[in-house]
């Protein structure tokens, strides 16, 4: 039976009055993790947007135990928590909730170490495609052509393919997800925690503040990222690749919405011209060709 939104736990892990920007996908992502797993979890959070969303000492906006940790260290700190729980014979899931900068850039070493060791953690990267918390600086996860305050002419390099890097570590579970497809994400979170070892979910998270669009468009833009094929939903279990959600039907290029639909809604692509558009389209085609090879 398919999961429905109305089936979900109505309790909220994120309490009212939290200081996230309106339309924040990072805040929503954490709510969905809470709805997927309930309150019997521990979070490890490095520097990033979710640091701020917790609010200020001596209060917190999150009704879960949280270990805040420095930028580069979240996977290693989670390994330590997980080791302590193993010693204490506790099976409470340990979940890292980190942004793209904390994951694909400064945190990649400790994440790679944890994955190579197979430490029992679920690592969720909310990918808002730049250092949004420090004020929109480009990260390794910023897509080609996107404006940020440190790529004012558009980023000249491609987005780092972090899920593929995690697949190369041969961990038991890797998935991409989108904030705009909550049930797909929740099912992936639930699948991941059932497995022992390092699990990785890369959550596409359109950021109204940094991508320069109206905060009421966050879900819409997230959907367009998937429906245009710019962001592909899949999971890799034991090396076996499988498309999920709407992406299952988008292998045929003709079924994808034109990528302009996705790009034109975002101020960070306001400078787009025909040449840039062509390059972006050809990158999308290429990533689908690569996926096609993998799911065969």
């Amino acid at each position: 039976m398919n999961l429905r939104l109305t089936d979900l736990d109505r309790r909220e892990p994120l309490l009212r009055g939290h200081p996230a920007c309106p339309g924040c996908p990072s805040a929503l992502g954490l709510r969905l993790i809470g709805k997927a797993l309930g309150s019997d979890i521990v979070l490890v959070v490095p520097a990033g947007c979710f640091t701020m969303i917790q609010g200020a000492f001596p209060k917190t906006s999150v009704d879960l135990p949280i270990l805040n940790i420095a930028f580069a260290a979240s996977a290693a700190a989670a390994s330590g928590v997980s080791a302590a729980f193993e010693v204490k014979k506790s099976d409470v899931p340990v979940i890292v909730y980190a942004g793209d900068g904390g994951t694909v850039d400064i945190g990649i070493q400790s994440l790679s170490g944890a994955a190579e060791r197979g430490d029992n953690i679920l690592y969720v990267c909310y990918d808002n495609e730049a250092y949004q918390n420090t004020g929109i600086q480009r990260s390794g996860a910023t897509p080609y052509g996107a404006w940020t305050t440190t790529s004012i002419k558009g980023k000249a390099e491609k987005k780092k393919d972090m899920p593929a890097i995690m697949v190369a570590h041969q961990v038991p579970y890797v998935a991409t997800a989108s904030i705009a497809y909550p049930l797909d994400f929740i099912e992936k979170v639930r699948s991941a925690v059932m497995m022992h070892g390092t699990k990785y979910i890369h959550l596409h998270a359109p950021c109204p503040t940094g991508w320069r669009f109206s905060s009421d468009k966050m879900v819409e833009i997230g959907r367009d990222a998937v429906l245009t094929g710019a962001w592909i939903l899949y999971e890799v279990v034991g090396g076996h690749w499988r498309l999920t959600g709407p992406s299952k039907n988008l292998m045929d290029k003709r079924k994808r919405k034109p990528v302009q639909e996705y790009l034109k809604a975002q101020g960070r692509f306001a400078h787009i011209n025909a040449k840039l558009l062509e390059a972006i389209c050809s990158q999308i085609d290429q990533q689908w060709e690569e996926i096609e090879e993998k799911i065969k």
Binding site: T60, G80, V87, G113, R117
Partner: protein, 393 residues
């Protein structure tokens, strides 16, 4: 039971006797034998702990923080560049008020590469909010690591502890070490409790979220108060250990023939032993020499130091470390501790033994004598000991 152990293995045996539960570890010369030995203990079933072979020292301390925050007794060891590389997490551990214990096999910082004895690595993190204890012998390393968990986990303290041991001089040198029985250590060091806070879904709390200017200073005030209060805890834990096994180290400071001394050498670590030999030989010649070994550098034992040296004529502070532009770190701290005394003693600083250069008994004899004559001449400028002028030219 006596066994012949290196300093590194003394630290490893102490960790096992302390029943550490999580050991994230990364190798670095000359510390590696500590974490090698613990790996062996775990793999052979002699120690029931989770050993995490992390990919860097930064992750070693991050994993210690995670494990300790989750309520486990966490242990790691490092040295030199490893300590600096984990520096960010070293601060994080103490400000999170986590009772981690970490031996630091004190080694020079490069470049140029140099793996030998020097204290600049550990002392450069003296402001990181950890308790810092330096051992003089392998026996003291073993005893101090066990004591360190009692100190760290005391609810008045709740701070991590570094135990400094000299590269090679202690780390790779074998001495007979009395290993207490597991029952003895268990009676001294009970299992860690979950108090006051650990990561627990049934009682969710947040470690380390944002604190605004309205609250940050109060957190630092309580951290500072805890490390000041640790003075009494460190002394009491050492006294209790002495009652239990017959060995103590003076708590914060180790006084050697200081009672009637006219001239005193202040030193830390293993070379204090050579200073003591020098003092003994000078006593035979009628010079009233003594040695004050600072066992604890953080909290800096100001009152204990004042009590001992306010009655002497001259003090030589021997620093196996360097703060370029300021000089020996301990000399400057000792001088600052004495400020305001009605009749402060003459204090002269010596930078010595950097990069593992020997400071022998004869050097200490010279330092005692040089300090007395400098006092008569009124020359309190600090000096470098045994500089090789041929290398300079």
């Amino acid at each position: 039971m006596f066994r012949v152990l290196t300093g590194n293995h003394s630290a490893a045996f102490a960790a096992a006797l302390s029943r550490v539960q999580v050991v994230p570890a990364y190798p670095i010369t000359p510390q590696t034998q500590i974490i090698e030995k613990i790996s062996e203990f775990v793999d052979t079933g002699q120690l029931d702990a989770k050993y995490i072979r992390v990919e860097s020292e930064h992750s070693a301390m991050a994993a210690c923080i995670g494990a300790s925050a989750a309520g486990a007794r966490a242990f790691t060891a490092t040295s030199s560049h490893g300590l600096l590389y984990m520096g960010e997490m070293v601060f994080w551990a103490s400000a999170s008020r986590l009772p981690i214990v970490m031996p630091v096999t004190c080694r020079t910082i490069g470049p140029p590469w140099n793996i030998w004895d020097e204290h600049t690595d550990m002392l450069s993190l003296r402001d990181a909010g950890w308790i810092q204890i330096f051992a003089e012998s392998n026996q003291e390393i073993l005893d101090t690591v066990i004591q360190a968990y009692r100190i760290a986990e005391d609810e008045k303290v709740l701070l991590p502890v570094m135990v400094g041991l000299d590269a090679f001089t202690l780390s790779h040198t074998s001495e007979p070490v009395d290993i207490p029985s597991q029952e003895t250590v268990d009676s001294f060091l009970p299992p860690r409790t979950g108090k006051p806070f650990v990561l627990d879904p049934s009682r969710p709390i947040t470690f380390g979220n944002m604190a605004y200017p309205s609250h940050y200073m109060e957190l630092k005030f309580t951290h500072n108060k805890a490390i000041e209060d640790a003075c009494e805890v460190i002394a009491e834990v050492d006294r209790e250990w002495r009652r239990l096994v017959g060995r103590g180290y003076g708590g914060l400071i180790d006084e050697f023939m200081c009672d009637d001394a006219e001239v005193i050498v202040i030193a830390i670590g293993s070379s204090a032993g050579d200073a003591k030999e020098a003092a003994k030989s000078l006593r035979e010649k009628g010079v009233k020499a003594g040695v004050l070994r600072l066992r604890v550098v953080r909290p800096f034992p100001v009152q204990s130091i004042k009590r001992v040296i306010s009655r002497v004529k001259a003090v030589a502070v021997v620093d196996r470390n360097l703060s370029p532009g300021s000089g020996g770190i301990l000399a400057s701290e000792v001088k600052s501790a004495l400020y305001g005394l009605h009749k402060p003693p003459f204090v002269k600083g010596y930078v010595a033994g950097l990069g593992g250069r020997d400071i022998a008994v004869g050097d200490f004899v010279n330092l005692f004598e040089r300090t007395l004559s400098s006092r008569d001449e009124g020359d309190d400028r600090s000096e470098w000991v045994n500089l090789n002028l041929e290398v300079l030219h």
